[in-house]
């Protein structure tokens, strides 16, 4: 089948097996190696992308489900203000990440910044936990996201909340 969607702001079209994993399409056809195709079972979260604005494990998305959607990978996310905020917050909080999970973790954190409502601490940890890596120091990651929320959302939602 022909799969057409918007990838990192550009219209793309390709022939694919309807059940081919979106993660495979993105890695192998588009060379987008920021996402890893690791567990292929939706467990590790290292293949996350934004699909119509929602953070999803792309290994669990069949190609036909991507038709007509907007897909943003880490390569696209890196050009956003949210990325700049998240990256700076993680660096300043000393929440060092390894080269295997950093892109997914930044996107997970970015999804919190872009959320419609201010997330609670539990919600932050829930989202960060969707990416599994043994390199993460939980309190540092939480601190980084809090800082990112303060700097980017303070005006958006009001500090009183």
């Amino acid at each position: 089948m022909i799969v057409e969607f918007i990838l990192n702001g550009e219209d793309v079209s390709l022939k694919a097996d309807p059940l081919e994993r979106l993660s495979d399409l993105l890695r192998e056809r588009f060379g987008l190696t920021s996402l890893m195709s690791d567990c292929r079972e939706g467990v590790c979260g290292k293949c996350v992308v934004f699909l119509d604005g929602l953070l999803v494990n792309s290994c669990m998305v069949p190609a036909f489900k991507a038709r007509g959607t907007e897909v943003v990978t880490y390569e696209g996310f890196k050009s956003t203000d949210s990325y700049a905020t998240v990256e700076r917050s993680f660096r300043e909080a000393g929440a060092e990440l390894c080269g295997f999970c950093d892109s997914a973790m930044y996107m997970a954190a970015g999804s919190l910044i872009d959320a419609a409502s201010r997330p609670s601490e539990e919600e932050i940890m829930e989202v960060l936990s969707s990416v599994y890596c043994r390199c993460v120091t939980p309190s540092r990651a939480l601190g980084a996201v809090r800082t990112a929320l303060e700097s980017s959302l303070g005006g958006k939602y009001g500090r009183a909340r």
Partner: protein, 689 residues
């Protein structure tokens, strides 16, 4: 060696990013049986451009034998565990390779397999270590109280950030191997041997390791041999990356261990005798079996003095995939056991657990291991701070009151707090290939940039910063002027395996020493100047040392509360205090210990793998409960001031947190909890479901 020029082999960060242009994929055909004789390997008709590889096609030696054991590159004749590689399928399309692997039939005359290790035939014992000091029998006979205990720690998966694999390709006349290995020179030697070529014809470049938990000591060399053979026979770049499920089922796991004690106390509660037995399931081929038993045996007394000590440690070969290191080699399960025993002994003596530890901690001059200890364990300094920040004494007293006065003794008290104290032994060698001396090289170039070369990768931004800072300070440079070379066997000297805290314990010291040597030459010789520093191997004639000498020390407190409905434990907090010499980066050290404590707790309560009835099944991977960041309790880490040389802390949390957790759980349940992880399930029920 046959040369086939390729490109794009300069650097590869992650194996999965290996350039796939004109590459072949390598699929592994595995043994369907746990033990037996291979009758036939039937490969389907393969299309042009595809080929199969069996042991007969290996150009050089068919075995890896520089790991204290001899492991077949591809099984030939016999198989020793289910999932053992018996053949490779090599071809340009990943899916077709996978299809061919699934269609390849391996027939094995199966024999009864053995997976248990707690009792075994003597022929299964592949390594042993025994030592005795003092009259153990006499001391036990005279002891006021004798306590017996059995403590088990099961297998666990390292869950690497990327499944294991390797890539290989020719660059003119050299074979370049990309391997996520902790020990590139061991991998290089294994590949050269398998290809039957000189070591200088093979170059191993390490890809990003991530959190390896010492699981990538030797196994990557097996995969590197597979990729190298495929590259050699196909003349193309070859890539082999295991699926997550295959990595889970077939690569090394923490060796399951049973530690049994019979310990005697005198009237005052002082430890007078200890008879310890350690049984280790080393899996098939038992790599590093001798090192496993020796390191485990030397840890049985923990931090305590014992005038009469007998220890016997055995590594048992079973028909499971090879087992091995897990943040330390053999010491973690023993640290758990001895700290659980300490709690049981304190209970038998009617003493507070901390008071018992204070009474029995090894002091200066202690001769438990036959030679006087030069520096005693810093129990008061470490635990004093720990008890204060965790409020351990008050909480423990409160929980004891609850335990003793609960109205219904048949239900658990529900609250517990546990303490553990112990050493992390100094960066050790494995007694095999790395017995020669680790080296580091620094070069100051004409443009005043400094390059640090070590085959041990810094592995994290914090260690990179520390190395740069040390080098820059010694030479009066800016840290930005210091470059850390990527580890490779042709560009960095052999610094030994990247394990057992060698980055801090050995390499950091060598970098400082090399830079000081360079500084003394700087204005006397023309640039570039290169200085190489080597840590001399300890002479066999040197005076023996206590295994506790030069250790880093730590203590942990874990607080648990049981769910009133199902009695599952919820951890309320973890506190750790460590004494590890001069801290090169206090913030990074605290962060690392906090992260390790969170992972170590997850290994206790969530990550379950039962191999007692056979190797892991595909479903076991899905059921392996990964501990997520959201599950981590509050963790507080502090360090005690210490101006000694910097020491490693990488094993501390994995030794201390499990024991402190089990001690807390025992109080909360009012029943000893002597096995970890807590969620070990019955094999039959698990598999049936």
């Amino acid at each position: 060696m046959k040369a086939a020029r390729t490109s794009g082999l300069a650097t590869v960060g992650r194996l999965s990013d290996f350039p796939l242009l004109d590459a072949v994929y390598v699929g592994t055909v595995r043994s369907p049986a746990s033990r037996g004789t291979i009758r036939s390997i039937s490969v389907p008709h393969l299309p042009r451009g595809y080929r199969s590889v069996t042991a007969d096609d290996i150009p050089g030696s068919a075995r890896i034998d520089n790991i204290g054991a001899s492991v077949p590159v591809l099984a030939s004749g016999r198989v020793a565990y289910r999932g053992e590689p018996v053949a490779l399928i090599v071809g340009p399309d990943r899916l077709r390779v996978a299809e061919a692997v699934s269609m390849t039939a391996v027939r094995v005359d199966e024999e009864p397999a053995s997976f248990g290790y707690e009792t075994c035939e003597s022929t299964r014992v592949v390594a042993s270590y025994a030592a005795e000091g003092g009259s153990v029998e006499a001391a036990l006979a005279k002891a006021a109280r004798v306590v017996d205990g059995e403590y088990r720690m099961g297998p666990q998966d390292h869950y690497y950030p990327e499944p294991q694999g390797a890539a290989a390709g020719f660059d003119y006349d050299k074979l370049i191997v990309f391997s996520s290995t902790q020990w590139p020179f061991q991998t290089r030697d294994a590949v050269a041997q398998a290809l039957g070529v000189g070591k200088d014809e093979v170059v191993v470049r390490t890809t990003e390791l991530g959190s390896h938990l010492d699981g990538k000591l030797w196994y990557p060399s097996l995969l590197a041999c597979h990729a190298a053979i495929a590259a050699r026979l196909s003349g193309k770049n070859a890539l082999l990356v295991l699926s997550r499920a295959d990595d889970f089922m077939y690569t090394t796991k923490r060796a399951p261990t049973l530690v049994s004690y019979r310990a005697g106390l005198d009237d005052s509660g002082r430890l007078v005798a200890m008879d310890a037995s350690v049984m280790i399931n080393a899996g098939a081929y038992a790599p590093f079996g001798a090192a496993l038993v020796e390191r485990a045996a030397k840890a049985v007394a923990g931090a305590y003095a014992c005038p009469a000590l007998r220890v016997s440690a055995l590594a048992v070969s079973t028909d499971l995939p090879p087992m091995g290191a897990f943040t330390g080699l053999g010491t973690g399960p023993v640290a758990f056991a001895v700290e659980r025993l300490a709690e049981d002994l304190a209970d038998a003596a009617g003493m507070d657990p901390f008071e018992w530890r204070a009474m029995n901690a090894a002091r200066r001059g202690d001769t438990t291991f036959g030679v006087p200890l030069r520096k005693g364990s810093p129990l008061e300094a470490v635990c004093g701070r720990l008890l204060a920040i965790s409020d351990y004494p008050r909480k423990r007293s409160s929980f004891e009151l609850i335990r003793k006065r609960r109205p219904d003794p048949s239900s658990p008290p529900g609250y517990g707090i546990g303490l553990a104290f112990g050493p992390q032994r100094p960066a050790a060698t494995l007694s095999y290939r790395d017995a020669q001396s680790p080296s580091v090289e620094v070069t100051l170039s004409k443009d005043s940039t400094l390059t640090v070369r070590s085959s041990v990768a810094p592995g994290s931004g914090s260690v990179t910063r520390i190395w740069k800072r040390i080098a820059a300070t010694a030479l009066g440079l800016q840290p930005d002027a210091v470059e850390i070379a990527s580890p490779s066997t042709d560009g960095t000297p052999d610094s030994g395996p990247n394990a057992f805290s060698r980055r801090i314990g050995v390499v950091t010291r060598l970098i400082g020493s090399a830079c000081e040597g360079l500084a003394s030459k700087r204005f006397r010789e023309a640039l570039p100047i290169t200085v190489k520093k080597t840590q001399r191997a300890r002479s066999s004639r040197a005076a023996p040392e206590s295994p506790l000498e030069d250790s880093s020390w730590g203590a942990a407190v874990v607080e648990v509360e049981l769910d009133p409905v199902d009695s599952s434990p919820a951890v309320r907090g973890i506190w750790i205090v460590a004494k590890a010499g001069r801290l090169l980066s206090p913030e990074d050290a605290a962060k690392a210990l906090e992260r390790d404590a969170a992972v170590a707790l997850g290994l206790c309560v969530a990550e379950c793998l039962d191999l007692s009835a056979g190797p892991a099944e595909p479903g076991d991977f899905r059921r392996y409960g990964l501990w997520r960041a959201k599950d981590a309790p509050p963790i507080r880490v502090e360090f005690v001031d210490d101006d000694a040389d910097p020491k490693g802390i990488g094993e501390l949390a994995y030794s201390l947190v499990p024991a402190a957790f089990a001690n807390a759980l025992s109080q909360a349940l009012d029943s000893p909890w002597n096995s970890l992880p807590t969620c070990r399930r019955s094999e039959g029920a698990d598999r049936d479901s």
